[in-house]
């Protein structure tokens, strides 16, 4: 099975992605991560206004068989969360890069995004 790794965003080792959206950064998990977790049943996210710290957990994702922390690719304050995931956590399985996004932040260091792994570097890590 081939895994989707779009090259319009950056990745970190723990399989979260980060994508620039007009100065804000949107965060989610990769196709590989959702596939490993299996059927996702619950996503716990911080509230809007909370600060998240780079490389620290910002939430929890729960599948039928496992629970994992979600790690922040970048630090910053949360400007939006994807509330649709509370009712339809399966969106993370179905559209990990689009409808399954998790939160948006106002990054404290916008340049940090470019320091993260590119799609090809991330793909190399998975191989």
């Amino acid at each position: 099975m081939s895994l989707d790794i779009p090259d319009d965003r950056r990745y970190i080792e723990s399989h979260e992605w980060a994508k620039d959206e007009d100065g804000h950064v949107r965060i989610g998990i990769s196709d590989f991560a959702q596939d490993e977790l299996g059927d996702i049943v619950f996503v716990e996210l911080p509230d809007v206004g909370e600060e998240i710290i780079a490389d620290e957990p910002f939430g929890v994702i729960e599948s039928i068989k496992a629970v994992s922390d979600l790690y922040a690719p970048l630090g910053g304050s949360v400007t939006a969360i994807n509330e649709e995931l509370f009712d339809r956590p399966e969106l993370v399985n179905q559209e990990p890069y689009e409808g399954g996004w998790m939160l948006e932040i106002d990054p404290s260091d916008p340049d940090a995004l470019d320091a993260l792994m590119s799609a090809s570097e991330y793909e190399g890590q998975l191989a």
């Binding site: 049943v41 619950f42 729960e62 599948s63 039928i64 068989k65 496992a66 629970v67």
Partner: protein, 446 residues
């Protein structure tokens, strides 16, 4: 060392010698001892000096030892109660499928038990008014311990101190402190006023470091808490959780914990279904629906099978130790499922009328007894000017322990609390037993 003959071995290992031989042949071993991989340096070649007894012998032995317990009318309470249990509970709960099965990890093979536990959860939801009840913890004390660590995991709570009544049962207090030691939660007490919470004193103690306020209704002295609502508001004002201790009988007549603002209800649900058993319990744990993913213990949920038939299974299992390990909501694995089954059965047998009638009698009969005791010279009852449930404290001019010992010699067991205070509990004892007790008090006191 060789394997003993079957007749000397376990009566529950049914192998014939021929079968053992055939199995060893199939394995390619000549003796069972060959199969063991125990390093010789740690092998045990002594005996335990435990003689085997026949079923008849051990039955006789245990019964004759148990006969050494004093035969008394039990008027003891304080967290463990002697309720009448209908015969149907023993007979049906003892069915082997209920008694001997394992936890329902294979739901297709345990739909019946899962449904019974689902019905137990539903019973507690009805009684507490809260959205979620688990399918058991060990007892009231461990449920209180779990409540404290649970409160610390809730996002809306703040603080690190749990406030408990100064009259809290010592076993509950000790257990709570053990649960709180790991996460470093502080346990502090608040004073009581005439047997229930001293709300003013509590208000002075509550601050932003308060994690949880715990109160009981009925309390360990049998008093019903008149200020539950105020306690709930106090907790709410300080981003603390409000945990109420109660039990299914009391909850069938009391205002629901949900109504008074409780976030958590704990207690001993074993007042239903569980006979007096030297303190065994059934940990009741209920909370608000929004906190379900932080809840300790097993939960049964309903969904469908692949043909669309309603089906039950244990759910939200990722909270539990076998999946989440050191980050689990609790370490609990084995719980009190069979006691929960018995409680559900007992409640089904009583129905709403039976539950309310029984609970009403646990208000009326102690009140009548208190009046009768109060009429005796040298006795004043009840000590507290409160409504009581099941039990109450009473004062004597004499030394309380002396009175309790003398009553024990007359065949009645009551608690002596301090120099001049005793406590007595009325559940389902026949009226004649209560009459006899009053008579014994009259004799002992004069």
């Amino acid at each position: 060392m060789s394997s003993p003959d079957t007749e000397d071995g376990s009566p529950y290992a049914p192998h014939t010698e021929a079968e053992t031989e055939a199995m060893l042949d199939a394995i390619g071993a000549s003796d069972v001892e060959e199969l063991f991989d125990i390093p010789s340096a740690v092998a045990f070649d002594d005996t335990f000096d435990i003689p085997a007894r026949s079923e008849a012998e051990i039955t006789h032995e245990v019964r004759s030892i148990l006969d050494r317990n004093a035969s008394v009318t039990c008027l003891l309470g304080r967290g463990h109660y002697d309720h009448f249990i209908p015969a149907i509970v023993d007979h049906i709960a003892d069915r082997s499928e209920f008694l001997t099965s394992y936890t329902q990890y294979q739901p297709e093979a345990s739909q019946g038990y899962l449904q019974a536990l689902f019905e137990y959860q539903s019973l507690l939801v009805e009684l507490t008014g809260l959205g979620v009840a688990n399918c058991s913890l060990y007892d009231a004390a461990s449920a209180l311990g779990e409540a404290a660590t649970f409160a610390a995991r809730l996002r809306h709570t703040d603080g690190n101190r749990v406030l408990v009544p100064e009259l809290l049962h010592p076993g509950r207090r000790s257990t709570l402190e053990n649960y709180c030691a790991g996460p470093g939660i502080e346990v502090a007490t608040y004073p009581s006023d005439d047997g229930t919470a001293d709300v003013d004193a509590l208000e002075a103690l509550v601050d932003d470091d308060t994690l949880m306020i715990y109160a009981e209704s009925p309390t360990i002295r049998g008093t019903l808490e008149p200020a539950s609502r105020a306690l709930g508001e106090l907790a709410d004002d300080h981003d603390a959780a409000f945990c109420l201790g109660s039990d299914p009988y009391a909850l069938s007549i009391l205002e629901t914990p949900h109504e008074v603002g409780a976030d958590i209800v704990v207690g001993d649900a074993g007042v239903l279904g569980l006979p007096t058993s030297f303190g065994m319990g059934l940990g009741l744990f209920a909370t608000r629906e929004e906190y379900v993913r932080q809840t300790p213990g097993r939960l049964v949920g309903v969904s469908e099978d692949l043909e669309g038939t309603r089906a039950f299974s244990l759910t939200l299992v990722t909270r539990e130790q076998h999946i989440r390990r050191e980050r689990a909501t609790s370490n609990i694995c084995t719980n009190q499922a069979w006691v929960a089954l018995r409680a559900a059965m007992h409640a089904a047998w009583l129905g709403p009328t039976g539950l309310v009638d029984a609970a009403t009698s646990y208000v009326e009969r102690p009140r009548e007894l208190a009046e009768r005791l109060d009429a005796i010279d040298g006795v004043s009852a009840p000590v507290h000017d409160r409504a009581h449930f099941r039990e109450f404290t009473w004062r004597v001019d004499d030394d309380a322990s002396k009175v309790a010992n003398a009553l024990l010699e007359h065949g009645y067991a009551v608690h002596a609390l301090d120099d001049d205070t005793l406590q007595v509990c009325v559940t389902d004892q026949p009226n004649a037993a209560i009459d006899g007790f009053v008579h014994a008090v009259e004799e002992v006191i004069t």
